[in-house]
Amino acid sequence: MNAPRSSLFRFASPQVFYPLAGKLIPWFAVAAAALAAWGVYLGFFVAPTDATQGDSYRIIYIHVASAWMSMFLYVIMAFWAAIGIAFNTRLSSMMASAIAPTGALMTFIALWTGAFWGRPTWGAYWVWDARLTSELILLFLYLGFIALQAAIDDARRADRAGAIIAIVGVINVPIIYFSVKWWNTLHQGASVSLTKAPTMATTMLTGMLVMALAFWMYSIAASLARVRSIILEREKRTDWVRELSDKGAL
């Protein structure tokens, strides 16, 4: 099977994408580590103690970053799942499957760090607030997607079934985002928005954005690493995988 040579669609071929992803992973991983180190430095050694929350607020750097990623990754996962069934591109569906576990992990981190922040500030690890509940539903959507795909043997059928959950579940993302506006929530409103000046000190904001970028880079590296394994699992009987294996270049 030869990949068409002349367009971006060339990269839709697992055979072409596999080595490319392998080359990209170290760059994203190094960027993630460097940004995380910088973010921790800003967050713990440059940013001052908060006047009202004391040092408990320092959880914000991982809480906001992981919560943002949990929503971004869901939308990206649904996008690739939709492309995968609309254009019948296998790699797109593999990408969706590769993103799901990292998305679930980000959602878990957002919930966990939120609980550890909620306890000292609200007096409770958990409340059935609209923001918290919709984020918990997001975790169940990710887990449902993963479990459904794992339950179906035929890869393409699993892709189609997963895509339906992924696409329908997208409705939950704006619900999470706007929940703090639509309902009276214990959870605070957005601290950062494109239209208003941020309601926090500059050093805190910079630390948060740097950490968010670190989580982006990490998520890309992890998803690419996982999609490479998925490609090998699904293409193990193809000639190109055999050739790479013979050369010891897998």
């Binding site: 713990f44 050694f45 001052p48 103690t49 004391g54 040092d55 408990s56 320092r58 959880i59 991982i62 809480h63 992981s66 576990p101 990292t102 992990l105 878990f108 981190i109 966990w112 760090t113 550890f116 922040w117 306890r119 000292p120 990490y218 992890a222 690493a225 996982r226 490479r228 394994s229 090998l232 699992e233 193990k236 009987r237 995988v241 055999r242 294996s245 897998l250």
Partner: protein
């Protein structure tokens, strides 16, 4: 350093348990994903090697 001492740093103004509980779990979960990714890749590779061996055996019997 704004903390004065490492002791103060780890205490986090009395919020040490919450701050380190949040960061600790994050690091643990990311480390777990790293291990899982490596295991999955190793399993995929050994699966390919096994596939290849059975094919070679089948061909040599013929």
């Amino acid at each position: 350093m704004q903390w004065g001492s490492w002791e103060n740093f780890w205490a986090m103004g009395g919020y040490g348990f919450y701050v380190w509980g949040a960061y600790g779990m994050t690091v643990a979960v990311l480390a777990a994903e790293f291990v899982l990714l490596r295991t999955r890749r190793a399993r995929a590779k050994s699966e390919i090697a096994r596939e290849l061996r059975t094919r070679i055996q089948a061909e040599s019997k013929r």
